[in-house]
Amino acid sequence: MIRAVFLTALAVVFFFVIWVYNPFVHKEKYEVPQQYLKMATDVSYAKEGKQLFEQNCQACHSIRYDGVYIASVQANPNLKTLQEKYGKVLPRNVYESVFQSDLIGLKESFGKVPPDLSTMYLVKGPEYLFAFTLEPQKVLPGTSMPAVMAGRPEETAKIVAYLKSVAEPSPEEKNKRTLMGVSVIAYLVVMGILLWLWRGRVLKRMGLH
């Protein structure tokens, strides 16, 4: 009994550490004032954020998963034709070959093509995105991204909220998923208990208890 408890505890702690929270891994932390962090994670600012993105970032960055391409591509009439054929999100190889000259232009100015930001929120999280966009040099010394948002924390937070709205499912969708998850788990737990009770009765009838 003591052995069983000991080994079970060991296994549970182990999987907790590797799957849920690992205290041995050091994660980079970025200080963000609470009020801005709240805005940056609130997707109701996404609409404003999108406009701000178009004004401040679209010259260099695309958000393909929202059908938003860099400004020079967006102005190109070819885009519409291609989107009629492939849908809102162009396949990457099509996008990169048709609009090669726009992308090469950016690459020549900045040393690399500024990354597409469709999934950036999932990769970096709100703290990093806010801190980096506001002060690129401070967070990533030597980066070629200019400090376009210097001194405009509130608008930066709204842009981050827009990036979140593109990367993550919408709040309604999230609620639906939570409901679904809770029902599935509840169903399984109830079935487990019922099976157990039924087993007790079957075994009693068979004289196996």
Binding site: N93, V123, G181, V182, V184, G192
Partner: protein, 403 residues
């Protein structure tokens, strides 16, 4: 009506006889403990991978330009409920491996690898090995930064053979590495091959191995937790309903935990860095293999000589394979073997520590700890023959006979 159809089929297929002979007349020990359910959980995990995998293939595109978007846009955003399928498949792979590990450690604890079950153990080891390769090939498919760079690092590992004296000259390691990648670099050819392996060849091999494994389990009967073989004619309880209902209930609990992760905690199974598309020109800061390979990785990394490190981690796999022959003691089950139990705890703690060390930076202290726990791992295997000899002496002194 349904009953009549059922009877019509049964008169011709004799399914109820099959059920009676295979499920009800099949007798197993009454005192099977919870860990015996890991076997059935592994089967369920396998079925979950196959079903979810089939759905994923319908939308996934094995092409370096579109793979990332097909996984992260088409599957995650465009097609209804495919996000769920992907969550299930990604979490399922991790749960499958976790269950297989638990199953292996259960087998070691109860000495279930002993005569007449050596072959069951060996086939089980093959399943484990093929499963690792399946998971490794699947992990490349979403074509994110972790997929790409994880494979770059993995394909580098065999090249450490080339730093060996004498055989290093033949460049065997480099050949293996090129063979793994399908060229000098990881690219379209690698992705295409891995896709083929991942969705057809390896799952089929697994299916075959799992079938053989189950047949062997049946042929030898189930071991018992206290190490005594039961006399099937006199003892034992019918597999159905005694075990089916018990393990069925455990299975529901397992699935509840599984779906908790699927719906509410995917950040480990679909890690943030893998939402970054693969970029051969941008090396990420931290590259570590998936958790199920970390123990081997730490062994490899802690030993200062590359070739020795390579030999060491492969030796662990080999020792695991020949475990039934290292342990020739007449006693069975850690319940009856105090010395074995102590070494078992050493094994468990060493494996866990090596896994956790794998994600930590390779500082000198960590390298030292890595070496200590590597020694612990080897100590378990090497202690087995010694313990066996001691136990034989003890067994004979108590009047036991060689069986």
């Amino acid at each position: 009506m349904l009953g009549r159809i059922g009877r019509w089929i049964d008169e011709r297929a004799h399914l109820s006889e099959l059920w009676q002979s295979q499920m009800v007349d099949y007798k197993v020990p009454k005192n099977l403990t919870f860990p015996y359910a890991f076997g059935i959980m592994a089967i369920v995990a396998f079925v979950i991978q196959i079903v979810s995998g089939i759905f994923l293939t319908m939308y996934y595109q094995p092409n370096v330009h579109t793979a990332f978007d097909s996984a992260n846009y088409t599957i995650m955003k465009e097609v209804p409920f495919m996000w769920l399928i992907r969550h299930v498949h990604a979490a399922g792979a991790n749960f499958f491996l976790a269950i297989v590990y638990l199953h292996i450690f259960t087998g070691i604890y109860y000495n279930a690898y002993k005569k007449p079950r050596e072959l069951t153990w060996i086939v089980g080891w093959l399943i484990y090995f093929v499963l690792l390769v399946t998971a490794l090939t699947g992990y490349l498919l979403p074509w994110g930064q972790l997929s790409y760079w994880g494979m770059v690092v993995t394909a580098e590992i065999p090249t450490s053979i080339d730093s060996a004296p004498l055989i290093g000259k033949f460049k065997i390691g480099e050949t293996i590495s090129i063979w793994m990648k399908g060229g000098y670099e990881i690219g379209q050819i690698t992705l295409g091959r891995f896709f083929g392996l991942h969705i057809w060849l390896l799952p089929l091999i697994l299916l075959l191995l799992v079938s053989i494994h189950l047949y062997l389990v049946r042929a030898a009967g189930i071991s018992s937790p206290d190490g005594k073989e039961i006399d099937k004619k006199k003892e034992g309880v019918p597999f159905h309903p005694y075990i089916t209902l018990k393990e069925g209930a455990y299975l529901m609990g397992y699935l509840a935990v599984f779906f908790f992760f699927v719906f509410f905690h995917m950040s480990h199974f679909l890690p943030p860095d893998n939402y970054d598309p693969a970029d051969p020109f941008k090396t990420p800061a931290h590259i570590a293999p998936e958790w199920y390979l970390l123990a081997y990785y730490t062994v490899f990394r802690s030993i200062p000589d590359k070739f020795l490190g390579f030999v060491a981690f492969n030796l662990i796999l080999v020792l695991l394979l020949i475990l039934p022959f290292l342990d020739f003691s007449p006693l069975r089950s850690a319940r009856n073997r105090p010395l074995f139990f102590v070494m078992y705890v050493v094994l468990v703690i060493s494996s866990m520590a090596l896994t956790i060390l794998g994600v930590m930076p390779p500082t000198p202290t960590n390298a030292m700890l890595g070496l200590i726990f590597t020694a612990g791992l080897f100590a378990f295997f090497l202690a087995l023959p010694v313990i066996s000899v001691l136990e034989w002496g003890w067994y004979k002194a108590k009047g036991g006979e060689r069986r």
